[in-house]
């Protein structure tokens, strides 16, 4: 990676990539590996995005860390990539082949002298909710977001930058790396194409009233499940009931929680069926005797992913129920959850009591709340409409919900589409 000099105010590149998740990283790496300059701008303190928070990928059940590691290696060794973190995109002006983009770099409060030695963290007295683990645990106010965080440097939660107690951290740092008075600054990027890879966020499960998330402790979501299963997660890889830390004996997966639903997300997020089946394998590994119940409308495992579904069907303790969960209630005696499901064809109602319920919530494009600053056609759900020739080039789950492999595929092609914009002019 090319270092960003503190006095630089204008940077030139072929392509600006907004969003440092797997899609954005891929666009940047593929571009740079062709020897073309690229800027990767991420609004969080480190790149890696949502895949960094996943425990395993379906169907191979391999750790995403493996792919992130090799991608970070590719970034570290490539002089054509500049990574900007804590970067916010301002005004974009110009036209295809010649854009000028204002980027605000918010203060990290830690400069590039940081060696990540950890002395500051040890003396830091302030704790805060750890958003990487969906608030399930705490981190210090000066922290490294996660084990694979890149750049591997500390960051100060801006809320506490002016807190008197942070001075202790400054004193503990042997390298003069902490600058609590660091100010935001603006740089201008001159680029030929702008790629928007801002990805997704999980649908807010508290909006699905009937499913009890937020009201019942033992109702969690699929993304929380990923963090619980991770060795570096809030429970060090143990999947336990939030209410009493008990082991799981019977778990229920609620598919299409808010998805394929006119009142929430009318579309299908394409990954949730496989994600839940993958979660069942986590449970199976920890609790070989636990029963798994999955309530679905259609099981969607396209292509070779069907093999994964077939494997699950062979598991005697995995019960598939065709039907949508209409309501979840809590059994006050034991905090178990009662899932009321209706068979979508017969109208028959069943009830199943489980000790943990996982809502398979869908993916909402981040562009639904924050449209790109350049006028770009979006669909009713906020996804960027691809290949319109107008506005930014969308890629990954900013265009449609997709799993990691599809994101990488899409992003690789988008890297070329972006370069070709420059070639044409």
């Amino acid at each position: 990676m090319a270092e960003f000099e503190p006095d630089e105010s204008q940077i030139r590149a072929e392509t600006l990539v907004v969003g440092g998740g797997i899609a954005g990283m891929t666009v940047a790496i593929e571009t740079a590996e062709l020897g073309k300059h690229v800027i990767l701008a991420e609004k969080l303190p480190s790149i890696g995005g949502r895949v960094a928070a996943m425990h395993q990928y379906f169907p191979k059940l391999c750790p995403p860390t493996c792919g992130i590691e090799i991608n970070l290696k590719r970034i570290r060794q490539n002089p054509y990539i500049r990574v900007l973190t804590l970067a916010e995109i301002g005004k974009i002006s110009g036209s295809p082949g010649d854009y000028e983009v204002e980027i605000t770099l918010k203060p990290r409060y830690v400069n590039d002298k940081c060696t990540a030695c950890g002395d500051c963290e040890k003396v830091c007295e302030i704790e805060r909710d750890n958003e990487f683990n969906y608030g399930l645990d705490k981190s210090k106010a000066i922290y490294i977001p996660h084990l694979m965080a890149y750049p591997p440097r500390y960051v100060v939660d801006p809320e506490y930058a002016s807190d008197e107690r942070m001075k202790k951290c400054v004193e503990a740092c042997k390298y003069d790396a902490i600058e609590l008075d660091m100010q935001p600054r603006t740089v201008t990027a001159k680029v030929k194409a702008v790629v928007w890879a801002t990805g997704w966020r999980p649908y807010d499960a508290t909006k699905i009233d009937n499913l009890g998330f937020g009201r019942f402790k033992n109702v969690i979501t699929n993304v929380i499940m990923e963090r619980m299963a991770s060795v570096n997660g809030p429970t060090s890889g143990k999947i336990i009931r939030p209410s009493d830390q008990k082991e799981i004996t019977k778990i229920g997966f609620v598919q299409c929680a808010g998805s394929r639903d006119e009142n929430h997300l009318p579309y299908c997020s394409a990954v949730c069926c496989l994600a839940s089946m993958k979660h069942a394998t986590y449970i199976r590994e920890l609790y070989p005797d636990a029963e798994v119940h999955m309530f679905y409308i259609d099981v969607r495992s396209p292509g070779r992913l069907e093999d994964f579904y077939v494997k699950m069907q062979e598991d005697e303790k995995f019960h598939f129920h065709r039907g949508k969960v209409a309501k979840i209630e809590e059994n006050p005696a034991n905090q178990n959850l009662v899932l009321h499901a209706e068979n979508t064809l017969t109208g028959q109602i069943t009830t199943t009591e489980v000790d943990l319920a996982v809502l398979a919530t869908g993916m909402v494009p981040n562009t639904a709340d924050e449209a790109p600053p350049l006028e770009t056609p979006l669909d009713d759900f906020g996804f960027i409409v691809p290949d319109t020739g107008k506005g930014v080039l969308g890629t990954g789950s900013a265009v449609r919900p997709m799993e990691v492999s599809a994101s990488i595929q899409d992003a690789t092609g988008t890297a070329l589409k972006a370069l070709n914009i420059g070639t044409r002019r």
Binding site: M1, T65, C117, Y267, C268, D307, P401, L416, N420
Partner: protein
């Protein structure tokens, strides 16, 4: 150039306060290297400048940075192509994971430093191998995917040869009337756009189109593929740098479907035939040309079926919904049935499904097809079981459409695969009858689909993983294949629709472009992108054992008549698996070779007294296992100080000579740690961990020769996220070694 080594030891991040740095620098100075220095913070700008000045002033060409992991800011310590640098990891792998100021920790640090020095001393900075190469790209297949790939590469300024076996371009798109909705509100069918695409690429000067053309032979390597094609009996030859294979799919053979009724009545057609019918004048009952009053679409005809295609073709649900729309447009009152296992309309295509459900004459039912029969009146009767209504139903219709799936053109017919298997067993028997020295039977080349007709020793086409789809790390690296410079796109890579194929084409074109550019400067493509080292063969000592030519996962090596390997450096991915395979040790990279690693082993101080200081040598994969050990350090997990780690490019590149070296020099045990093998392999070089496992046979042989216990060598699979398991793996192994006892070669 003789090595002139500079050794730099960092005292920051607890290193200085956990180790005796004076002792460490003495250890370095004992080697009489021109520069040996310490610094409080080696990653500071000032320190990096100091090293740069020393390189300049003292003419250093080897640098040892004893500080933190090479995963941290490697760009700071990149001193150009003439300087070989090694990072000795004193931080994560020594002081953060071991007791500070302890004798064992100090010994570990000193060994690590000596190992780093030995590594640069016995290695050389690599120089690239270059030749004049072609940057032109061949696209095979003129369907939507192939045409888009040609367009994508041509737009980027590359010359493209587009080869299509049919008389015209367009592929399946020419046979289909419409395609699914790609644009909001995702309800209306759209045009296939192939006509515009054909026009566009026909006008493009960068694209040469060869229709009615098949490939007779593709020889050579990336940058220098020599392609011989035939067109109407005329042969011609051209040179390309890389290849995009977009040869698409064929429909699953409906004749094989049995109870689905294909063939019992002309009124039972496949979805492809339906599409052709729509395109050729509209939907009529094939038996009598009468209008259609009712029609049933039977989903998963042969798909998601272990007896036919176990996978899902991903498009058929949408195809039937689309064809239902054709029916509705022509027959406003027709009854339309769709019988499915699951309706699969992912993403925004759900809106297409939702819109279709508004059609009151469309009946969607989940169920299994028990049988399809022809009634006395000529109509078709479909028996449906296991419907959710809890009852079996019969549907009587004018017509049935079987939603058959897609088979990649790379799928080798089962008959040929069986023949190959048989031939393989026969050769094996013959070989076994002839030789009794346990030498592996010569492996016949893999049968290929005969599309590219590669002249590779390992087979004619892309090696496949399952169901005929090309082998790759399909999650993280969807465009990787096992033939460097050849990239699959579209339905040949995975079942997909036109829009996805067009999108896929850009990705594959990108990889093809990267490949020609990388080859042009002698650099590797994925996963060791940019690596300019390459294997050198000392042919005089080759015994033609063929291990390297058989084992290379990427088919890099061909063979002459005698079995001598013929290297093709541009096909090479630099994993070093050939180096691990070679019993004569004639294969080496300048910066990674047998002698270098043997010297590193020699540089480790093995104490004579076992009781107090056992020593274990660990060969570990640098891609996953090594970062995992780092993470153990980042998490401050404490582990045994008796382990000495040598990272390998891939565990498959482990040569059993090193295990022999270690054991004969007194190491009590050897650990081999690599990635997961098998169907869900995690090896970056696809076959490496599998091969490491087979190398264990050679290792056992070595152990027998040395009269040592088998337990002294253990192989482990470790995922990068398994860092929490590392302390236990080390401790458990030391326990085993304690039971087996000290290595008797220790004091010899």
């Amino acid at each position: 150039m003789d090595p002139k080594i500079g050794v730099y030891i960092c005292k920051g991040c607890e290193i200085g306060r956990s180790l005796d740095i004076d002792q460490l620098i003495k250890e370095a100075e004992a080697g009489k290297h021109p520069v040996c220095k310490t610094h409080d913070c080696l990653c500071s700008k000032e320190a990096v400048n100091m090293i740069r000045q020393d390189i300049e002033g003292e003419g250093l060409n080897r640098i040892v940075v004893a500080a933190c992991s090479n995963r941290v800011f490697p760009e700071l310590f990149d001193f150009g192509k003439n300087v070989l640098t090694d990072r000795v990891n004193l931080r994560e792998q020594v002081v953060w994971s071991h007791t500070p100021n302890d004798e064992d920790t100090q010994m570990l640090a000193e060994d690590c430093l000596r190992m780093g020095i030995a590594k640069v001393k016995h290695g050389e900075p690599p120089e690239p191998y270059t030749e004049e190469t072609s940057k032109d790209i061949m696209v095979v297949g003129g369907g939507i995917t192939g045409m888009t790939a040609a367009k994508a590469a041509a737009e980027a300024g590359y010359k493209v040869f587009l080869v299509e076996k049919e008389t015209h371009l367009g592929g399946w798109a020419t046979k289909f009337k419409k395609t699914f909705p790609k644009h909001p509100p995702y309800q209306q069918l759209e045009d296939t756009t192939h006509t515009e695409l054909i026009e566009e690429i026909s006008k493009n000067d960068n694209i040469t189109i060869h229709t009615s053309t098949v490939i007779d032979k593709t020889s050579g390597q990336p940058g220098k593929f020599e392609v011989t094609v035939s067109s109407n009996g005329q042969k011609s030859t051209f040179m390309v740098g890389s290849i995009v294979q977009a040869t698409g799919w064929v429909p699953y053979d409906p004749e094989k479907l049995g109870h689905w009724g294909y063939g019992i009545s002309p009124d039972i057609v496949t979805n492809v035939q339906m599409e052709e019918m729509v395109n050729n004048g509209g939907i009529k009952r094939p038996s009598d040309g009468k209008p259609v009053e009712s029609i049933a679409f039977l989903q998963c005809a042969g798909s998601r079926d272990q007896d036919h295609l176990p996978y899902c073709s991903a498009v058929c649900c949408r195809v039937s919904l689309k064809q239902a729309r054709y029916v509705r447009e022509q027959y406003p009152d027709a009854k339309i049935y769709i019988i499915y296992k699951d309706i699969r309309t992912p993403q925004q295509y759900e809106m297409f499904y939702a819109y279709a459900q508004e059609d009151e004459g469309l009946f969607l039912t989940k169920g299994e097809i028990a049988g399809v029969a022809k009634d006395d009146d000529g109509k078709i009767v479909v028996d449906v079981e296991e419907t959710l209504l809890g009852e079996d139903i019969k549907i009587k219709t004018d017509m049935v459409v079987l939603a058959t799936g897609m088979v990649p053109t790379t799928k080798v017919p089962d008959e040929i695969l069986e023949e190959h298997q048989q031939a393989l067993e026969e050769t094996k028997e013959e070989e076994e009858a002839k030789t009794d020295d346990g030498k592996k039977a010569a492996e016949a080349a893999e049968p290929g689909a005969k599309i590219l007709n590669l002249t590779y020793r390992q087979g004619t086409d892309l090696p496949t993983l399952k169901y005929g789809f090309p082998d790759s790390h399909f999650i993280c690296f969807p465009y990787e294949t096992r033939r460097t410079g050849i990239y699959a796109a579209g339905a040949v890579r995975a079942p997909m629709d036109f829009a996805s194929g067009a999108n896929d084409a850009y990705g594959a074109a990108m990889k093809a472009i990267q490949s020609v550019e990388a080859v042009g400067v002698g650099a590797s493509v994925h996963p060791r992108v940019g690596d300019i080292s390459f294997p050198d063969f000392f042919m005089q000592r080759c015994t033609q054992c063929k291990r390297c030519t058989e084992e290379c996962p990427f088919g890099t090596l061909d063979e002459d008549d005698k079995g001598t390997p013929l290297p093709n450096p541009f096909r090479c991915r630099r994993c070093g698996i050939c180096l691990g395979a070679c019993p004569e040790r004639i294969i080496s990279f300048k910066n990674y070779n047998i002698n270098q690693i043997s010297q590193i082993i020699k540089s480790i101080n093995v104490p004579d007294e076992f009781e107090e200081k056992p020593r274990i040598l660990a060969f570990i994969c640098e891609n996953d296992a090594l970062p995992s050990v780092d993470m153990a350090g980042l998490k401050r997990l404490q582990y045994n100080p008796y382990i000495r780690i040598i990272p390998l490019r891939c565990l498959g590149s482990m040569n059993s000579i090193w295990v022999g070296d270690a054991l004969s020099s007194g190491f009590d045990g050897v650990l081999l740690i690599g990635c997961k093998k098998g169907d869900d392999y995690q090896c970056h070089f696809i076959r490496g961990s599998e091969l490491a496992n087979t190398r264990m046979d050679n290792v056992r042989e070595k152990l027998t020769q040395l009269v040592l216990e088998e337990e002294r060598v253990q192989l482990h699979e470790l995922a990068i996220s398994d860092y929490d398991k590392i302390p236990k793996i080390f401790d458990d192994f030391l326990e085993v070694i304690e039971t087996v006892g000290p290595n008797p070669y220790k004091d010899m």
